[in-house]
């Protein structure tokens, strides 16, 4: 090993092969059957359960846990997947502490919720390990639907539409399906290529064709109008392809954290990934945490998240914050970037202290500089190129409750559409619900 954590600059191979594999193991391994049974026994089988209400996909959590407790994890999986076809990934990435587990009545009694996420993973993993796909397609209709984006929203919509008997073609801009599940999530949350295995499993329903490297509006690919000419309906779930700009001097010296995460996720050999000795991540959401933690796990000597507001206001959940701190990521709050300077031997990021006033966030005169070899920005994403005939709202595609856009026969869901939090589980719910509405529309004709 030629490089170490102390090697200056941005270099690969800071760690030993053993350290790389130890750092990127499954952050929350699957429960054993015994652990699952003990955890399941804690569920009270609440009436009109709060956890179920808190789940954006309304999974019948008490029922699936009871199915685990009574020795039928595959039936439990079917309960989960019937509501949320990406229940396997959601079990891994959902911020359960702010959703189902946050509302578990055990929080009230003991401060320790039933481990719903872990139990969901136990059930879905059991079924997927058996290689079974528990759903079958209805009788074929003669309808076809184009789905743009093979991320959570698009996959959920496609699966539901295929299940209803329609023919589905997914058009995806990347070279591999999965969307953020494949490219945008810390790799220790879904190791062993879970995202692509899940897509493969999902496609077992049949009736879904996936076209890769096709971007809506790109010359040579096609437009929404083109799709409408060929298909009976279109679902847009292409996510957010742009990133917000910092709008400050030296911005070009920073890299979007999403690019770093995607590159890491697709890497076959982590030792070849260059990482800075000192890494600074600007932002306060899940992406900031994923980037900062993984920088540390790749061998950065220091990895620092700088967030402009207070810690309590961070979009990253408390659980995520704790994880970052547990990985020795440093957290600086109430500091906003002012400039990025190229200096002798690297970079310096200049921050101004901030305070929140009635009029909003205000930068103070008090500034400081952080040395950095690598700067990542994780300050939110944007829609990117928009099919211009679509009405937008707040920078996203405007939709009604069923995901209908301003254009006839066009639906949208997931991060590219308004409403809901930008979570995998929300995207799945929106894709599923739009598919149901598309189905109603197609069959009502």
């Amino acid at each position: 090993m030629t490089n170490s954590q102390l090697t200056p600059g941005v270099v690969p191979g800071r760690l030993s092969p053993q350290e790389y594999s130890a750092n990127f193991v499954d952050v929350a391994p699957r429960l054993s059957a015994h652990e699952a049974s003990v955890a399941a026994d804690r569920c009270y089988f609440c009436h009109d359960a709060p956890c179920m209400t808190a789940c954006p996909t309304s999974i019948d959590i008490p029922l699936f846990i009871r199915q685990i407790a009574t020795g039928t994890p595959e039936a439990a999986a079917k309960t989960i997947l019937g509501q949320n076809i990406l229940g396997g990934m959601c079990a891994r990435v959902c911020p359960t502490e702010t959703l189902c587990e946050g509302d578990c009545v055990r929080m009230e009694s003991e401060g320790k919720p039933v481990e719903i996420g872990a139990l969901q993973r136990f059930a879905t993993d059991t079924l997927m390990a058996a290689g079974r796909h528990p759903f079958t397609r209805a009788a074929r209709t003669d309808k076809s639907v184009a789905v743009v984006g093979a991320g959570p929203a698009g996959l959920a919509a496609a699966h539901r539409l295929a299940m209803k008997g329609h023919e589905v073609t997914i058009y995806d801009a990347r070279l591999k399906p999965g969307g953020l599940n494949e490219f945008g999530i810390a790799s220790y949350k879904a190791p062993e290529n879970f995202a692509s295995a899940e897509v493969e499993w999902l496609l077992q329903i049949g009736g879904i064709t996936v076209v890769q490297n096709w971007q809506v509006g790109r010359v040579g690919d096609g437009t929404v109008t083109d799709l409408l000419a060929e298909y009976d309906a279109v679902f847009l779930g292409m996510g957010l392809s742009g990133v917000n700009a910092l709008n400050l001097p030296g911005e070009e010296l920073a890299t979007p954290a999403t690019d770093f995460i995607a590159e890491l996720r697709q890497s076959d050999d982590l030792a070849t990934l260059p990482i800075g000795r000192k890494v600074v991540v600007i932002g306060g959401g899940m992406t900031a945490v994923d980037a900062a933690v993984q920088a540390k796990l790749l061998g950065a000597e220091t990895s620092t998240i700088v967030y402009r507001r207070s810690q309590g206001e961070m979009p990253a959940s408390e659980h995520e914050q704790d994880h970052a701190l547990g990985c020795n990521v440093r957290l600086i709050c109430n500091a906003a970037p002012v400039a990025i300077h190229a200096v002798e031997g690297g970079l310096e990021v200049e921050f101004a202290r901030t305070e929140t006033t009635g009029a909003g966030l205000r930068k103070l005169d008090d500034t400081f500089r952080l040395k950095a070899d690598q700067v990542f920005t994780a300050i939110g994403q944007t829609l990117g190129a928009t099919p211009e005939e679509l009405k937008l709202a707040g920078g996203k595609i405007a939709v009604d409750g069923a995901g209908r856009t301003s254009l006839a026969r066009v639906w949208a869901g997931g991060d590219c559409a308004v409403g809901g939090e930008d979570l995998t589980v929300t995207a799945v719910a929106e894709g599923r619900d739009a598919a149901e509405d598309i189905h109603q529309f197609l069959m009502g004709e």
Binding site: S37, V38, D41, R42, Y44, F45, C46, H47, D48, A49, P50, V105, R106, E108, S109
Partner: protein
């Protein structure tokens, strides 16, 4: 530390916790460990007549019922009486009793239903210096088919006859162990008393099939693809045992007959409950088989703690204390009215009370949009189901004082009145209906 010393039909032990005749008391090794752990006494696993001992199956002997987290709630067994030679057991009994003279050691017996068999074994037991004998008239499997165990215990005349033989042929105190596999537990108890028994012990195990193997379609425990009923014990049987103990304790014919309470005693509280219903001491098996002999230490400290809190100096202050409070349904006060009250501070909003009441009871709990659950007094019949299913014990029953109007019936709470005088009771002098023509 309260004085837990116990004197049961003249048999003294440092505490009222005995191990029941069962696998834990089959050998000197186990019994020594039990005494070392603190058990006040043991009833040695049932001895049979001299000669080739019985043979047990070499497959599984136990079936089980689990609660949450695989907590053992009930065990059933198809083990027989001791399968070790009589002389070995007698030698070991003598050796143990010599080393632990302060502990109770009672020997359980089951021999064929003829006087000669009993006459033969009793002197052998006496010779060990054991404190007494317990007649196993309860074992429901294996031995019953050979005319012993519950085959005797189900026929009061046999109980009386055998008990008399025993009393005529030994100076030792004689405890008759009763089977619950009978419709009226008072009959065998009366028979034992008539035969001169010093005490009865109950309950023995209950005929049971704990589970069915759904791959092999056979009862479990499964022996080479077949199963048979076994004897059920453990916490699950406690309510049945408590009732049977109480029936004997309050029956005119058997009142005062000493009782050794058996059936799912797992904690000090279980023991105290048996004693309150008339048991002079308790015998334990499943708790020891589940957790080991050390459980007795919790029973000792728990009972002692309870007695200290209550200012009791002797366990005799507990024994039988609840018996006068056990009555028949028709004597219950029909003018006693309570209403469930949900403590909102402690409620965790699980809604189990609501589901139970709404689906299976009287629709007496309201659920708000914010999941606040409140009792509708005008519907609440005070059935207690909400209290029973609440996981955090935040529901209590409030007694309506005399004179307060019950919103359900619109009537003010009145003085004590029971079914015997109720106007709806055709046998009552106050009957309000029309009696069928004579």
């Amino acid at each position: 530390m309260a004085d837990l010393r116990s004197d049961f039909v003249g048999i003294k032990s440092p505490n009222p916790f005995w191990l029941a005749s069962a696998p834990p008391t089959d050998k000197e090794y186990n019994v020594r460990r039990a005494y070392e752990a603190g058990w006040g006494g043991v009833v040695w696993k049932t001895l049979g007549s001299e000669g080739p001992p019985v043979v047990n199956v070499s497959g599984p002997r136990y079936g089980v019922i689990y609660g949450a987290d695989r907590r053992v709630l009930g065990i059933n067994n198809i083990e027989l009486i001791t399968d070790r030679p009589l002389e070995v057991n007698l030698r070991e009994i003598k050796s143990v009793k010599r080393d632990y003279p302060d502990r109770a050691l009672v020997v359980s017996l089951m021999v064929p239903c003829d006087e000669a068999s009993w006459k033969a074994i009793l002197p052998l037991v006496e010779e060990t210096s054991a404190d007494g004998v317990e007649l196993n008239f309860g074992c429901p499997h294996g031995m019953a088919e050979r005319g012993m165990g519950s085959a005797v215990g189900q026929v009061p005349e046999y109980i009386e006859m055998v008990t008399r033989w025993v009393k005529q042929n030994t100076r030792m105190p004689c405890i008759v162990k009763l089977t619950p596999n009978i419709s009226d537990i008072r009959k065998p108890a009366e028979a034992a008393k008539r035969g001169g028994a010093d005490a009865v012990s109950l309950i023995n195990t209950i005929n049971s099939i704990t589970s069915v193997n759904l791959d092999e379609f056979a009862p479990e425990p499964m022996i080479d693809g077949m199963g048979t009923h076994g004897g059920y014990c453990g916490p699950a049987v406690k309510p049945i045992a408590l009732n049977m103990v109480a029936e004997i304790a309050r029956s005119e014919a058997t009142r005062g007959l000493p009782i050794s309470g058996i059936g799912g005693v797992t904690t000090w509280r279980d023991a105290a409950e048996f004693m309150a219903l008339g048991a002079g001491n308790v015998q334990v098996c499943t708790a020891a088989m589940t957790y080991g002999f050390k459980v007795v230490q919790e029973m000792i400290s728990g009972l002692s703690d309870y007695m200290d809190r209550k200012g009791m100096v002797s366990t005799s202050e507990i024994v039988g204390r609840a018996v006068p409070k056990v009555t028949d349904w028709q004597h219950l006060n029909l003018n006693y009215v309570t209403k469930a009250v949900i403590n909102q501070d402690d409620c965790i909003k699980c809604g189990r009370c609501f589901a139970a009441c709404e689906d299976t009871s009287h629709q007496a709990i309201a659920m708000d949009e914010d999941r606040t659950f409140t009792v509708k007094d005008e519907e609440c019949v005070a059935c207690n189901l909400c209290v029973d299913v609440c996981p955090v014990d935040c529901i209590t029953m409030r007694e309506l004082p005399k004179g307060e109007t019950d919103p359900r019936t619109g009537r003010a709470v009145g003085d004590y009145a029971n079914w015997t005088t109720h106007p709806n009771n055709p046998s009552s002098a106050n009957f309000c209906g029309v009696r069928p023509a004579e």
